[in-house]
Symmetry: C3
Subunit: 350 residues, 3 copies
């Protein structure tokens, strides 16, 4: 199923607003949402960007398709031509996104004394805004979310339901935080006291720069002394964990379920796959790509693609290979013996 948004526009309006060339089609044709190329649907907007989609394009039931000039001749419906169809589609599709809730403070919300909530902000039902927090125009605080005391939230930042923003956390403009994320928890700093562990007070904060996205259930801890910093344009998927005192560089993306331990410095324009683990105090330079589920216990000092991704195979085969892996030292020793027959190696298994 694809969805009607409730918002309607026309082909011509989309072409003009997003600077697309209407190569074919009636500018007055109605559009009310997006759809996949196939099956497509009436009043739906789709996109096509590669030769591999030619057959799907030929069969589309969409009302209009954003596509490259190369694909346009094969479009059986209205064609909106541009150089980067996926980007143009992402931008055009935004017109169908639900409107943000109306400005104002819901009667069931609690705004503590000293908080400054811009009249253009929207505070949802059951939300809490702590003392002396500052919320700029266009901020949306979702239902049942909690904004800590002295937190500062920039223009047009949108926070969904049941999010926790800790005391003193600073969030920039146009940030999006999905449901049940927790920003500003105490970092995991411990010192052994002889019998057990004393917590190290976590007195730093969290700073999230402009245009960041934080996925559902993601956690970002506050620093021990200095701040944890999420740079501008960073995109974090769901259930990502960012430990205390991390600094994440601009425009880096982190896929779901990845954990970055404390005091890491991650460069700008990195792409970190899902389920990755990065050890504490690791530095990763700019422009690094890490494939899914890789483990990074040491610094990465040069741009490039890095991996330790395994690949599941039938379990019997896997068990056999794993058993051989566990004997790799013995295998290497057997190899040494056939390389140097007669030599005494004297090794023991370990």
């Amino acid at each position: 199923m694809s969805h009607h948004s409730g918002y309607e526009t026309t082909l011509g309006a989309i072409a003009e607003q997003f600077d697309l060339e209407l190569a074919l089609g009636d500018p007055g044709a109605r559009l009310d949402g997006v759809c996949a190329l196939t099956p497509g649907r009436d009043a739906g907007l789709a996109f096509a960007e590669s030769e591999a989609q030619a057959d799907a394009l030929a069969a589309t039931g969409a009302t209009a398709v954003i596509l490259t000039a190369a694909l346009a001749p094969r479009c059986p419906v209205a064609a909106l031509v541009c150089e980067r169809p996926r980007l143009a589609f992402a931008r055009a599709a935004s017109v169908f996104e639900p409107a943000p809730p109306a400005a104002g403070v819901h009667p069931s919300a609690v705004v503590e004394p000293g908080a400054r909530v811009d009249p253009g902000a929207s505070i949802g039902p059951q939300a809490v805004v702590g003392a002396d927090a500052v919320l700029e125009a266009g901020v949306v605080v979702g239902p049942s979310s909690v904004i800590g005391a002295r937190a500062r939230i920039g223009t047009d930042t949108r926070i969904e339901a049941n999010v926790s923003v800790g005391d003193g956390v600073v969030i920039g403009a146009r940030v999006r935080i999905e449901a049940n994320a927790a920003i500003g928890g105490r970092g995991f700093g411990l010192v052994h006291n002889g019998q057990g562990w004393d917590p190290i007070p976590q007195l730093g904060g969290v700073r999230i720069d402009d245009d960041v996205e934080v996925g559902a259930g993601t956690t970002i801890d506050r620093g021990a002394i200095d701040d944890t910093v999420i740079g501008p344009g960073v995109k974090l998927d769901d259930q990502v964990h960012i430990g205390h005192n991390c600094v994440i560089g601009a425009h880096t993306v982190v896929a779901g379920c990845t954990g970055i331990a404390g005091s890491c410095t991650i460069g700008a324009h990195c792409m970190i796959g899902g389920g990755v683990g990065i050890g504490d105090h690791v530095t990763v330079v700019d422009g690094v790509i890490i494939t899914a589920a890789s483990q990074v216990p040491k610094d990465i000092t040069a741009a490039g693609v890095y991996s330790s991704t395994l690949r599941a195979m039938p379990a019997g085969k896997w068990r056999k290979r794993l058993a051989l892996f566990r004997q790799l030292d013995r295998i290497e020793r057997r190899l040494r013996r056939v390389e140097r027959p007669g030599a005494f190696t004297g090794d023991k298994d370990e």
Copy 2:
């Protein structure tokens, strides 16, 4: 410790209600909860299903045991005989579960205009039901949970505390969603704009079919264009992540901390272990079992058991084997040299 539920029944009532043969014991004996075979306790109901439990059975302090006919002669207490004791126990134990909260809307809850809440539904303290949402009879919305606008929730579905259900999400009947789960967050769809990343609007929904269970802290994102679909009878453990546009087949179970990236199609009757990672756009057919912590970057096209599960060993030994693994190309080259002595291989390390 095992727990008294506050609810009391008798051996005879349990036998009759769940069609168990009371082989031995007083039908009027009192039962007030479940217990383990050992030590067991007075008024406690236990179960035994295998020969391996014979000693524990002989020593049990339970008041009654659900067990197979084969084990019955060795039962020192009241015996309830059936073919599948674990299943019968699961069903009988349900009588001791706490009753759901009473129907009605708590005075502190917010029900937005246009929402239709069946009089037989229960809306807990501080909960929020969005505009035009529809909640059927027997629905329970836990304290501080948020149901989005236009969401639809089927009969007898139970949602625990601090859960977020996004706008327009559709949930079937008899679904259980544990605390702090987040359903309907925006999917992680990005397109590079030359400088950084633009989000792709996520205009699809989430559909959760009947009899699904969703664990605490689990996240299920909405689709970009089409819906994310969780099929009937699917069971998701805690902290599972389901990316946008996934389709999970009927009666598939997914253990804790597993992440399934976007646009995956997982078959029916699969069993996916804990900590597994499945890459985006992967298809897994019906009847696949994936062992814990395995990584699945590619399609699985035949039913069976798949694995890439490692096994921790003493760290010194592991480091030695990992070092050899990192030299596997060199080892293979050395092997080639002894296989073909005198041949020029010309390889370089890479």
Copy 3:
């Protein structure tokens, strides 16, 4: 940036309160927070514990440094001498932690009938305290958190925002639970019914002993029959998952994103790294260290360090080694052939 806490004290007061020797400096010097050694800042307290920090110490702009006697002669500012500077710093820094919220029940909170809330406890805005729950003096329940019916929470335990504590959960004294944690969800117990899966009622509880810390987004499930138990002094980082019926021994620490499946028994004084997976029904003895991202499908029966941590390498090199790993059986067979030239092995690939 380092932070002024708003609380001010003096060097002399810190020295006296924490039994530190003021080797150099004016006892009346003002301190208002902590800072890193470099750059340090006016009125900031830092620490130094090792020779490797000598240069940073020489350059510090802190007002005072807690350090060892060996480092003291090289301290250019006020020096507070002790044997274990990190531990002393952790304790001294606690004076700068924000004061807990004032006692009392926020007018927007809901306290259900029968709950006993000590007058010295603090119940935050939009929080819910269930029927017959018992909260001792000094307990803090954060905004929008939910305490289940019949739960018991010990003295000075602090619960942050949007936390869910299930019915009947028992929590000791001086426990800290970070935002969006969920304690007491139903365990993941299923039994196949021929067509799909029946849930096994989860009728046990959760018991959390004194001085435990639970990180943001962490989930701890209730037991099926007996309780899940978190021993005294255990520290759990963010997004940890503890399955039903686990017993975690005293003073064990578990780093972020680690999942411990159901019915595990983990010893005391263990250190479990981030992203580790421990299979169900696994027993780990006291004093075990498990490195990050290791997988533990089997019991660990002796103290020591265990590992299956991989290490990412450039992706091309990794792919080559992984391909060789997948051929390990063939490599071993080739080795056997060169060891016993002429012998017939008869193996097939599998």
